[in-house]
Subunit: 220 residues, 2 copies
Amino acid sequence: MERFELIVQTLFESNNLTEKQRQILKAAVQLFSEKGYAATSTSEIAKLAQVAEGTIFRHYRTKKELLLAIVGPFMEKIADSYIVNDLTNLLKKDYQRPEDLLSAIIENRRDIIVQFLPLLKIILQELPFHPELREHFLQLISDNMYHRVVEVINDYQQKGMLKKLPPTAIAKFAITNILGHLFTRYVLFPHLEWDDVRDTEQLIQLIMNGIGNSDSKVES
Amino acid sequence: MERFELIVQTLFESNNLTEKQRQILKAAVQLFSEKGYAATSTSEIAKLAQVAEGTIFRHYRTKKELLLAIVGPFMEKIADSYIVNDLTNLLKKDYQRPEDLLSAIIENRRDIIVQFLPLLKIILQELPFHPELREHFLQLISDNMYHRVVEVINDYQQKGMLKKLPPTAIAKFAITNILGHLFTRYVLFPHLEWDDVRDTEQLIQLIMNGIGNSDSKVES
DNA sequence: TATCGAAGTGAGTAATCACTCATTATATGT
DNA sequence: ACATATAATGAGTGATTACTCACTTCGATA
């Protein structure tokens, strides 16, 4: 199954969509991610979806509603189920060393980014221009993820495995490095040659040096 | 002087522009950064610049040429003079401790980002859709900055102040953290309350823990 | 098989798009 | 003051935009 089809299917599996509706969503995801929302016309979408232009407006009253019909469910479903649940599962496994948890998180995040890259590009592109999207996004993070992360960090700190810095600073540092790495790897320079195994190991080591307690430091 | 005027003046000080031309560039920078390039019409630009729409096309044959007339000089002048020269000056000062150099770089980068935020937003927005811009950008970095950075890292490593990791890994780690921090600080969540002094100190400490040699480690 | 609501169509809408061009205003050098 | 060039204009261009609507097709149920 091709890329955009997989995205639409994963994202709208619960909804029962018409064949034409799925084609519209698929075409919209592709064109929005390739050309940007504003630079994509509804006639283009209709043409690529092999659908009359009127069919688009039967299901989505405006072009923006089509965008929200794609981005909204992604942020709710994916950001909610994938990210939160998967992260929770990761945290539940009670990795003995924080670096093991880090490693699991990175691999998990890598899969999501690779699979949903086009959707992430759309969101990154449109977030600055739609304040309601930004707030929705922020709320998802602060409501669901923030407390869990702080909890886990506290836990590791009490076990003496993390420096006694403010948990928010540790979280921000780790997230910045993980997302920064994955962003440069898959968004900025995906065509460069990468040694993923080595890079990941190096990244974890650097992060752990930053936040880990010296007593249990990893030897180079 | 207002924000966009300052940007245009700084960027085109050497060129002798007509008053109308400066108004056009100023309006274009504002609208492109606020609404995005594709979502901004030439009639809007003309209206905001208080200029006939034809005047725009007297100076710039197409809308895209207007975009390149803004983004190109920024990348050449600013990225070349500001970033490269300032960084070179920073490096020349031979900061004894790498954390002092880091601190200076962060403050320097902060000023640039704050001053040219609208232009940076335009570039971040349009980079994915203009391969020639991306290559130009990449070349500027790899040609001018890469070697200098590696040199400095080597220097500090030989003085025993940095871990003997590959200089590229150290550079990537430091850059990721600095840009990641400034990005979240000024682009993602500029409206949140920040304690810049404390945050910067904390960031430097975390970075130094990651790459600094344990012998000369900063005590918490 | 008849019925009926939903799905799909495509020609048509006014508005707006980037861009042109003949004309007018302004600046400069002599 | 005059000539010449450049800057600026704004009405006008065809193409394209998001979107509408009267109509046809489809599919399930009775």
